[in-house]
C-alpha cells in the first residue's frame, strides 16, 4: 500500500484498521483451541508461472482434490497463489469483460479509494481476534474477484491458495464482489503440499452480493494433521441477492475454527449454507455459520452433515438472528459418530431481536445409523459394509447446487473409504 497515493479519508481508514488490529494481536478467538501464532514465520515468495500446466504434477493432483483443475476449458477464470505469491491469474477470453481477477494487493493499488470505502474490512472486523489481526498487519495477498453488473457467468471461477512450506502462516485476505444482477460460481480450494506438516492458514474473506445478484461459493479444504486453519468470513447480501455457501472438509486437520457471518441487509435476500464435514484422526473441528436476517422477507437455511471418526472432536454450530417480522430461517444439523473416542456437539442457536414475527426453527440430531436400516438394505442382498456405506453416503448427500462433478466424485470416494474404515 505504501506506493499508492490515497485521499486523507482513505489514509485515516487504513490507520483505523491498523489500530484495531494492533489492539487485537494477543486476543484469542471466542471459539476453538488457541494457537501460539508467534512461532510461525510468514510464507515466502514463489516464482510466477506462464500456465497452470507448468505446476508440478504433485501440486496439480493435490489441488484437483479440491476442484481446481489445470485444464481451464471448464473454468471462466483462475487464480493460483503459491505461499505468498499470486503465481497465476487469468480470465478466459470469453469472460474478459465480465470478470476481474487479481490479488487483493493489486486491487488496492488499482481501486484503493473504492476498496477502502466499500469493501476492505467492511464485512469483517480487523480487531475481532488475533487471526484477523495477523492478516491485517502481515497480509500475504489473497484473491480479488469482481463480476460486472448484469453478467451471469455459468462456468466456475476457480481460486487456489496453496502452502508449500512448513512452519509458516499464510495470511490471505480475499474479496469477492458480485455486482447488481450478476451471477457467479466460485470454487476455492485451499491445499498444502504433501510434504508440509505444521502451519497456519488465516484467511479473511469478504463477499459482497449486489441487488438481484447471486454468488455460489464452494470451498473444499484439504489440510494436514498438524495444520491449523482460522478463516474469518463476512458476507453482505443486498436486495433480492442470493448467497450459497458450500463447504466440504474430508481430510484431517489439526484444528479448524470458522464461523462465517452473512448479513442479509437487502429485502428478500437469501443465504444458504451447506456443509459436509468428516472428522478424522485427532482433528478438532469447530464450524458453523451465522445469518442475520435484517431486510424484509429475508430467508436462510443452513444444512450440516457431520460424520466423526477416530479421536476427532467436531462442533457443528448454527446461529440465526431474526431482526425483521417477515424473515424465515431454518437450521438442520445432523451428525453420526462412528467412533467411541470421538466427540460431537450440535449447537443450534436462534434469536429473535425485536422481531416477534420472525420464524426461526432448527432440527439437530446426533445418532448412529439405525441397525434396522442396515438390515433392511441387507435383506435386498447388500453386504453389511456396503449397506453402511450406502446409508452414510445418503446421509451426507445433501443437494449441493453448483458442485462440480469432480467434487461430487471426490466426496463419494472419501465417504466410501471412510465408511470401510469404520467397519
Amino acid at each position: 500500500m505504501s506506493d499508492v497515493r490515497l485521499s486523507p479519508g482513505a489514509e485515516a481508514r487504513l490507520t483505523e484498521i491498523r489500530a484495531a488490529a494492533e489492539a487485537a494481536v494477543d486476543k484469542p478467538a471466542a471459539l476453538g483451541p488457541d494457537i501460539d501464532i508467534t512461532r510461525f514465520r510468514t510464507v515466502s515468495e514463489a516464482d510466477t508461472i506462464a500456465s497452470l500446466d507448468s505446476l508440478e504434477r504433485q501440486v496439480k493432483e493435490t489441488v484437483l482434490l479440491s476442484g481446481f483443475t489445470a485444464d481451464e476449458t471448464e473454468r471462466s477464470a483462475s487464480y493460483f497463489q503459491m505461499d505468498r505469491t499470486p503465481i497465476y491469474e487469468r480470465v478466459q477470453k470469453a469472460f474478459d469483460d465480465a470478470i476481474e481477477i487479481m490479488s487483493t494487493e493489486e486491487a488496492l493499488k488499482l481501486y484503493g479509494e473504492e476498496m477502502l470505502e466499500k469493501y476492505w474490512w467492511r464485512a469483517v472486523d480487523p480487531g475481532k481476534d488475533k487471526y484477523t489481526a495477523i492478516v491485517a498487519l502481515h497480509q500475504t495477498e489473497g484473491y480479488f474477484i469482481r463480476i460486472k453488473a448484469g453478467r451471469k457467468v455459468e462456468k466456475p471461477i476457480q481460486a487456489c491458495l496453496f502452502v508449500s512450506e512448513s512452519d509458516v502462516s499464510q495470511n490471505v485476505h480475499n474479496v469477492i464482489i458480485v455486482e447488481d444482477g450478476a451471477e457467479a460460481n466460485v470454487i476455492t480450494g485451499c491445499n498444502i503440499h504433501t510434504d508440509v506438516k505444521e502451519g497456519l492458514h488465516a484467511g479473511i474473506s469478504e463477499f459482497y452480493v449486489g441487488r438481484g445478484a447471486k454468488l455460489t461459493f464452494t470451498m473444499v479444504h484439504n489440510w494436514a494433521e498438524d495444520f491449523s486453519v482460522r478463516p474469518r468470513t463476512g458476507i453482505v447480501v443486498e436486495e433480492d441477492g442470493v448467497y450459497i455457501n458450500n463447504y466440504v472438509l474430508l481430510k484431517p486437520v489439526k484444528s479448524i475454527q470458522a464461523f462465517p457471518v452473512a448479513k442479509l441487509v437487502g429485502d428478500r435476500s437469501t443465504a444458504v449454507f451447506n456443509s459436509i464435514v468428516y472428522g478424522l484422526k485427532d482433528s478438532v473441528i469447530d464450524l458453523g455459520s451465522e445469518t442475520q436476517l435484517i431486510g424484509e422477507g429475508t430467508r436462510s437455511e443452513a444444512v450440516a452433515r457431520t460424520v466423526s471418526m477416530d479421536r476427532s472432536t467436531v462442533y457443528s454450530r448454527g446461529r440465526l438472528i431474526g431482526r425483521t417480522n417477515t424473515c424465515k430461517a431454518h437450521l438442520d444439523c445432523r451428525g453420526i459418530v462412528q467412533s467411541a473416542e470421538s466427540t460431537q456437539w450440535a449447537i443450534p442457536d436462534l434469536a429473535s431481536e425485536g422481531a416477534p414475527g420472525a420464524e426461526l426453527s432448527h432440527e439437530a440430531a446426533i445418532s448412529p445409523i439405525a441397525a434396522e436400516e442396515i438390515y433392511y438394505l441387507m435383506t435386498r442382498g447388500l453386504p453389511k459394509d456396503e449397506a453402511v456405506s450406502m446409508i452414510t453416503r445418503g446421509f451426507v448427500s445433501i443437494d449441493i447446487p453448483g458442485l462440480p462433478d469432480v467434487l461430487r466424485k471426490q466426496i463419494d470416494k472419501a465417504i466410501e473409504e471412510t465408511s470401510k474404515e469404520a467397519m
Binding site: E373, L377, M378, G381, L382, M390, I391
Partner: protein, 257 residues
C-alpha cells in the same frame, strides 16, 4: 411338485426362537415346496413376524433349538445378505425410512445391478411408482406407497421364496388389488402350475389378500407352534366365526399335538 424332488425348498424343523428373555417360537415345523404359497394366520404376538424375521436372519432373533434349511443349506450362521442372495426375499409390514437412499437405488440393489430401464418401466407401470422412485425410500410414504415399494423391490429381486408380512395392513382396497396383483405375478407368473417355481409365505390377519392370491396351505401359529393346517379360506372362516381358541381345537383341519 414332482416326486423326484429330493429336498423341499424350505424345511423348518423343531424351531425354537427367543427374543431377549422371551421364548417366542417353541417348536415350529414347516415345509414349503417349490411353487407353493402358504398362509400364516394367528393372534397378535403369536410369533408370526418372529418366524419371518428368523428366516430372513435379523439379529436379535435367537434360534435356541432346531434348524432352518433352505435349498439344502442350513441357514445357521448365514448373514441376512447371504440368505437374500441364496433366494430369500421379504416384504416388510413397516419398512424403515432410509434418508438419502432412493427407492430406485433399492431396486438396483435388489436386482443386483441387472436393473434395466425396461424393468423399471415395467415396475412403474405395474405398481404406479412414479415420483416415488426418486424419493428417499419409505420417507413419508403412505401405507399404500410403502407396500407398493416393498413389492417393487421383491419383483426386482425375484427371490425363490418370498415372505410377506401383512401385505394388506393399512392399505385401501385399490392398493390391495395392486399389491395382490404384484404378489400373484411374482408367485404364479404366467407359468403353468406344474412349472411354478417360486414359493411364498404370507402373514395375513384379514385374508383380504387371498382374494387376489391363490394360497395352497394355511397354518395357524398359536402359542409358539403351528397349531393346525388346512385350506386357508376355511381356516379364515372358522377363525372369524369362532376365534383362534376354537379354531385350533376344531376338526376341520389337521391338528398337531
Amino acid at each position: 411338485m414332482s416326486s423326484e424332488q429330493a429336498a423341499p425348498l424350505l424345511r423348518i424343523e423343531d424351531l425354537h426362537v427367543s427374543v431377549g428373555e422371551r421364548d417366542i417360537l417353541r417348536g415350529v415345523d414347516l415345509t414349503i415346496e417349490e411353487g407353493e404359497t402358504h398362509v400364516l394366520l394367528g393372534p397378535n404376538g403369536g410369533g408370526k413376524s418372529t418366524l419371518l424375521n428368523t428366516i430372513v436372519g435379523i439379529p436379535g432373533y435367537r434360534v435356541t433349538q432346531g434348524r432352518i434349511v433352505f435349498k439344502g443349506v442350513d441357514l445357521a450362521g448365514l448373514e441376512i445378505d447371504e440368505r437374500a442372495r441364496l433366494g430369500i426375499g421379504i416384504a416388510f409390514q413397516r419398512p424403515p425410512a432410509v434418508r438419502g437412499v432412493r427407492l430406485r437405488q433399492m431396486l438396483e440393489v435388489a436386482a443386483r445391478s441387472e436393473l434395466t430401464p425396461d424393468t423399471v418401466a415395467d415396475l412403474d407401470e405395474t405398481l404406479s411408482l412414479g415420483h416415488m422412485l426418486d424419493r428417499d425410500v419409505n420417507m413419508g410414504f403412505s401405507g399404500g406407497e410403502a407396500k407398493r415399494s416393498e413389492m417393487a423391490q421383491l419383483l426386482a429381486q425375484m427371490p425363490d421364496l418370498a415372505l410377506f408380512d401383512e401385505p394388506e395392513s393399512g392399505v385401501d382396497l385399490d392398493n390391495i388389488a395392486v399389491v395382490g396383483g404384484a404378489m400373484n405375478s411374482l408367485l404364479k407368473g404366467e407359468e403353468r402350475i406344474s412349472e411354478r417355481r417360486r414359493a411364498g409365505l404370507i402373514i395375513t390377519h384379514t385374508g383380504h389378500i387371498l382374494e387376489f392370491v391363490n394360497a395352497d396351505v394355511g397354518h395357524v401359529l398359536y402359542n409358539g407352534r403351528l397349531a393346525c393346517k388346512g385350506n386357508p379360506l376355511d381356516l379364515i372362516e372358522e377363525i372369524s366365526s369362532h376365534g383362534y381358541d376354537k379354531c385350533v381345537e376344531c376338526a376341520l383341519c389337521q391338528t398337531f399335538a
